[in-house]
């Protein structure tokens, strides 16, 4: 059909028809056959929804392989620690968020594994599941200083708060590691884990009141507490003669070098409290105080008060009446 009054540039004729033979509208001169103008595909109006460039040209995006591996590792660590489902899910969420942050995006794979461990630690702390940094270091096979550094960075990046635990929370789990149940060792040396844990917790609380715990590594304190608790539950000759090293070998637990010092400190503290027991007539020394641990723990608050009072009296006797009131040093 003839359309507008345009002229063919070749022959000058005005007999121009629309030709849509090749699905592209063209205006062709009917006389000489030259194409006057052709529409472009892009000029056709598009009435569908808007499609962004990235969607039209994007290849299907796959999640990063290291992220997937990292998430699997976090799941694995959570299952080794046998944590609750909520703890595992929270750890996975934290890992995903931290991984995609610029601080952790381009770090080494080792650091990313340590990050996974730190996410597990943070989520355990928030859900009140006691796990130590030492356990996490063991799981990720990392240096405690590096693990601590990554943990602090992660806390800042995610802007979360993870309350720390005190030593008493870990004592029960620590006691279960000792293989000194009734089936494992002879009856004179065997002790139920729950009974042992209860006495060890009481010893640790007493040590905390006496300032042995603050600022110190928790593991040697726990080893010392479990050792003294085990000795005091059945203070027979066999148990009293057994050294800390032999006890750790018996329970198949690795002995820490500092545990010996902590044992001595606890014995000193117990000796000072034991001196205040009014019904104990024989001479008390730090060596034979172990047999009195049961009584000391039972009456610990009143014994602590008596010890403080007697120390204050001794200080006042040394100094004149007008001297200023001073803090007595803690029983160590």
């Amino acid at each position: 059909m003839p359309r507008r009054s345009t002229r063919c540039p070749g022959c000058g004729s005005s007999n121009i028809v629309d030709d849509s033979l090749y699905c592209q509208k063209q205006q062709v001169c009917a006389d000489c056959g030259s194409v006057v103008s052709e529409g472009s595909l892009a000029q056709e109006p598009y009435n569908g929804p808007d499609i962004s460039y990235s969607r039209t040209t994007a290849v299907k995006k796959k999640p990063c392989a290291n992220l997937v591996q990292g998430l699997e590792r976090v799941k694995e660590m959570s299952r080794i620690l046998r944590v609750r489902r909520e703890v595992e899910e929270l750890a996975l969420i934290y890992y995903k968020q931290a991984y995609e942050h610029k601080t952790f995006l381009n770090v080494t794979l080792l650091r990313k594994e340590i990050l996974g461990g730190c996410c597990v630690l943070a989520s355990c702390r928030q859900q009140k599941w006691p796990v130590t940094i030492g356990t996490i270091c063991y799981l990720v096979n990392g240096d405690p200083a590096v693990v601590g550094e990554v943990y602090q960075e992660m806390i800042q990046v995610l802007n979360i708060q993870a309350p720390t635990f005190c030593v008493t929370n870990f004592v029960e789990a620590h006691c279960q590691e000792y293989k000194i149940g009734p089936g494992d060792v002879p009856d004179e040396l065997a002790e139920e884990s729950k009974v042992l844990a209860k006495r060890a917790i009481a010893l640790v609380e007493l040590a905390a009141d006496s300032w042995i715990v603050t600022g110190r590594q928790p593991l040697p304190i726990m080893i010392a507490a479990v050792y003294l608790a085990w000795q005091s539950l059945k203070p027979n000759m066999q148990r009293l003669k057994m050294s800390l090293e032999k006890f750790c070998k018996l329970g198949k637990v690795q002995k820490s070098k500092v545990a010996g010092t902590r044992t001595m400190e606890m014995k000193e503290m117990l000796y000072k409290l034991g001196k205040e027991i009014p019904w104990y007539k024989p001479v008390l020394t730090p060596e034979n105080v172990v047999s009195q641990i049961g009584d000391i723990l039972q009456h610990r608050y009143s014994l602590l008060r008596r010890a403080m009072k007697s120390f204050e009296l001794s200080v006042l006797e040394k100094c004149p009446v007008n001297s200023p009131r001073r803090d007595p040093p803690p029983p160590r």
């Binding site: 602090q152 300032w211 603050t214």
Partner: protein
């Protein structure tokens, strides 16, 4: 120097780190050969020069940038830096003492009471952090002063900050918080 109670708490500045520039290239070999009390470290690319009075150690780089450590006050750091620049001038370099800046001040301080670190951390949760398995002290960071205080259970404090004034202010700020968590007199 200052405290909010009747007892004064002494803040002892143990280290001041300062940097300055000489605005000229320095030949480290010349300094190492002709300088007095110098140690040349070619693997790192610097020369250590130690002054006796004031007792400071300076790390000298060939770019002309110098870091002075070991001074016990800001004035001493400046005096030591100037003396160092004079030493370098005598060695034949056209030294122009510029851009002197105190970068870090380390001070120690001792509270007259012991501190319960767990309570202190609980009361000041996001600002204070305490990991007994990593370090025996609790760390308290004051953002606006850019100061970091390490609090030990014995009552000792280690404070680091950009200058002496900030360090003193940091100790003043943290004192009441520590006083709340001190060891109780009797149970």
């Amino acid at each position: 120097m200052d405290s909010s109670n009747d007892e004064a708490v002494d803040i002892i500045v143990t280290n001041v780190v300062a940097t300055f520039r000489t605005r000229c290239h320095l030949n480290l070999r010349t300094i190492a050969l002709e300088g007095i009390n110098v140690i040349y470290k070619p693997e790192v690319g610097k020369v250590l020069m130690k002054l006796r009075k004031p007792r400071i150690t300076a790390s000298i780089w060939s770019s002309g940038k110098i870091i002075c450590t070991g001074a016990t006050s800001e004035d001493e750091a400046k005096l030591g830096a100037r003396r160092l620049a004079r030493c370098l001038q005598k060695l034949g370099f056209k030294v122009n003492f510029s851009a002197f800046k105190v970068v870090n001040v380390l001070a120690v301080c001792s509270m007259p009471f012991s501190i319960h670190l767990v309570d202190f951390t609980k009361n000041n949760r996001p600002i204070a952090s305490y990991e007994p398995e990593l370090h025996p002290a609790a760390t308290y960071r004051i953002k606006n002063l850019k100061a970091t205080i390490q609090v030990f259970s014995t009552g000792s404090l280690t404070v680091t900050g950009p200058n002496v004034q900030n360090v003193a202010t940091a100790v003043e700020q943290v004192y009441p918080l520590l006083f709340e968590c001190r060891k109780p007199l009797c149970k």
